[in-house]
Amino acid sequence: MDLPEDAGQLEAEAVRRDTRDRWLMSVPALMIIFLAAAGPLLVMVIYSFLTPGDYSGVKWEFSTNAWSSILVQRDIFDDTLQWADAHLTIFWRSVSLSIITTVLTLAFGLPTAWFISTRPPGKREFWLFLMTVPSWTNLLVRTIAIQELIRAEGVINNVLIFVGIIDEPMQMMFTNFAIGFGMTYVYLPLMVLPIYAAVEKLDVRLLEACYDLYASRWHAFTRVILPLIKPGIIAGSILVFVPCLGAYVVPRVLGGGKNLMFGNLIELQFGAGRNWPLGAALSFLLMVIVMIALIYYIRITSQERKDG
């Protein structure tokens, strides 16, 4: 079959026009996000290489001090280099509280996800809905609710005193415990949902097969159930760990001024700390850590979509 010289040109032209139209349609969304979300991140990187201003803001002088001062600081008196202990304490608190929260949400979330997925088919949506509704309501309000619970005159202390377990109110507010408790409460649904999705896909016949082959409840759980829902567990863990690491509201309300986390350390640089470049550098660091975790998350979930 002979094709004329200009064969395919019409098609190519149509495809090109279609692509251009689709880009044009996306422009408003892209512009808004670039101006008020993504673009400023680039400016932030520039700021991390400037010198702090005298009052606030920056002086336009290049400096890597912000980056080095994340980890080390120069002693005011003898000019020696020392570890920035205050920062390291806060990093350690952020990481350890995030890990503890992840483990706690897993310990509570896995049974909850299992429970939901073993409800009769028509009822599962209801339980899922019950689990997700609070997570769509105001984060600050939920944090305040936890504060109500654990304040010195809060419900927990009142009940414990009434029952006679303690005489004096326990100090729970403004502790690491309060932060971990609050974050577990707030982020539990983020653990439940991906694990639920994994459990839902679990073939009951595999459970029957393992009990048929003499497995105990424990062995069924560790040898068959856990390995099969591992992708859901990893996804849930990342989804909880990431916002914990960047948490701001929960530690601010429940941790008070002393128990800072990463997010509060960043804020401090723009307030009392008056060190915008350090704040920018810390932000960028947090962003990079989170991006790495999320890219890992996306790879796991898309891998699973391919397998399933």
Binding site: L206, A209, Y211, A215
Partner: protein, 376 residues
């Protein structure tokens, strides 16, 4: 229609012919008056007062149309469904309340249910490890099983990386490895193509022979049941209609349903009186009279291959309607003078000719013993 009468209800009842020797010692599974009711939006009586004994080393098949309760009975035996009523005995012990992980019974699942996160060998190991066998013994048994099902070369493959037939073998090996008292197989061949299915039928027979394990095999394919089984239980709507050897089931079906479900059949209306039946077209023939059928109107079964075209004047007169050639035989569809349809199956000889034309009058005869009186 009372299925119960056909089936031994308890130890005291007469046992079926296959295990006449010494019932108590030879019986592996004894299900007594088992009922299973699924309560959902509407109640489903999946098993209705089912009693059955299965002898040791027997290849026993549950045969019936889809939805008749075969899987349910198998799951009751495996321990996945508690029976609503009735008891289940294994080797003389009541196991009704025993959970599945403590029953010496293994299942080959319909869709194999192989663990996707384990290799072929680890799937086979699983049951042995759960039983806490010593590692050395486990290795030996796994090796033996891999050889038995000819999967030695694939032992470290993932179960998703092998074909359907191979998955089938692994599922078999996995269930056989712990040497269960009874192996339950739920339509294990239904996912395979015809050629592979035929191969696996022979393979399964061989495995049952070599291992000496009692097989309870579920299928809805009558041909499969006839070729593989020592005994068959035909089920319908949650009841067992008849239990017997393939020959008994085929040649002496107890009920019209059984006759209809297995093989091709002609049913003729007749009147029974004493040891003889009289057809509506006329003609009186001697029959073996079943015990529980009264004189009067009955249905008589005549298998198409037991009917012959005859010149005997006492044979039934009929008219040819269609002639269907199908390779090894030819089916001749005729209509009797009474208006009843009757099919005759004639094997094709090398130089067969002389088959009747459409519309031709013929006479249909049959060998003595070809007629079976059915209760229905």
């Amino acid at each position: 229609m009372e299925a119960q009468a056909q089936v031994p209800v308890s130890d005291a009842d007469p046992t079926p012919p296959a295990d006449t020797s010494d019932p108590a010692a030879e019986i592996a599974i004894d299900a007594r008056r088992i009922s299973k009711v699924y309560r959902g939006e509407d109640e489903v009586r999946a098993l209705d007062n089912v009693s059955v004994t299965i002898a040791r080393n027997e290849f026993f098949t549950l045969l019936g149309p889809s939805g008749c309760g075969k899987t349910t009975l198998l799951r009751v035996i495996a321990g996945f469904e508690p029976p609503t009523a009735g008891t289940l005995w294994l080797n003389g012990k009541d196991i009704t309340r025993l959970p599945p992980n403590r029953r010496p019974v293994n299942t080959v699942f319909q869709s194999y249910a192989l663990f996707p996160h384990m290799s072929v060998a680890n799937n086979i190991r699983f049951g042995l490890e759960m039983l806490g066998k010593p590692k050395k013994q486990i290795d030996e048994i796994v090796d033996e099983m891999l050889n038995l099902v000819q999967m030695q070369a694939m032992k470290s493959r993932r179960t998703s990386e092998i074909s359907g037939g191979q998955q089938q073998r692994v599922a078999l090996a996995r269930a056989l490895a712990p040497e269960p008292e009874v192996l339950l197989l739920d339509e294990p061949l239904s996912a395979l193509d015809l050629k592979l299915r035929k191969e696996m039928q022979i393979e399964l027979k061989r495995l049952q022979h070599e291992t000496g394990i009692t097989f309870v095999f579920v299928t809805h394919d009558q041909e499969e049941a006839l070729t593989m089984s020592d005994r068959i239980a035909v089920m319908s709507a949650g009841r067992i209609l008849q239990i017997g050897s393939p020959q008994e089931i085929y040649q002496r079906p107890a009920e019209r349903f059984v006759a209809n479900f297995i093989g091709e059949s002609n049913f003729l209306d007749a009147t029974l009186s004493g040891n003889a039946v009289t057809f509506r077209t006329g003609g009186t023939y001697e029959v073996e009279r079943p015990a529980d059928v009264e004189d009067g109107a009955v249905s008589v079964l005549l298998r198409p291959e037991h009917a012959i075209l005859s010149s005997d004047p006492s044979a039934l007169p009929a008219t040819v309607e269609t002639v269907v050639y199908s390779g090894e035989a030819t089916s001749i569809h005729t209509r009797l003078d009474s208006g009843e349809a009757l099919k005759v199956r004639v094997p094709n000889a090398p130089h067969s000719g002389g088959l009747p034309e459409q519309g031709a009058p013929v006479r249909i005869g049959f060998a003595p013993g070809a007629l079976t009186v059915l209760k229905d």
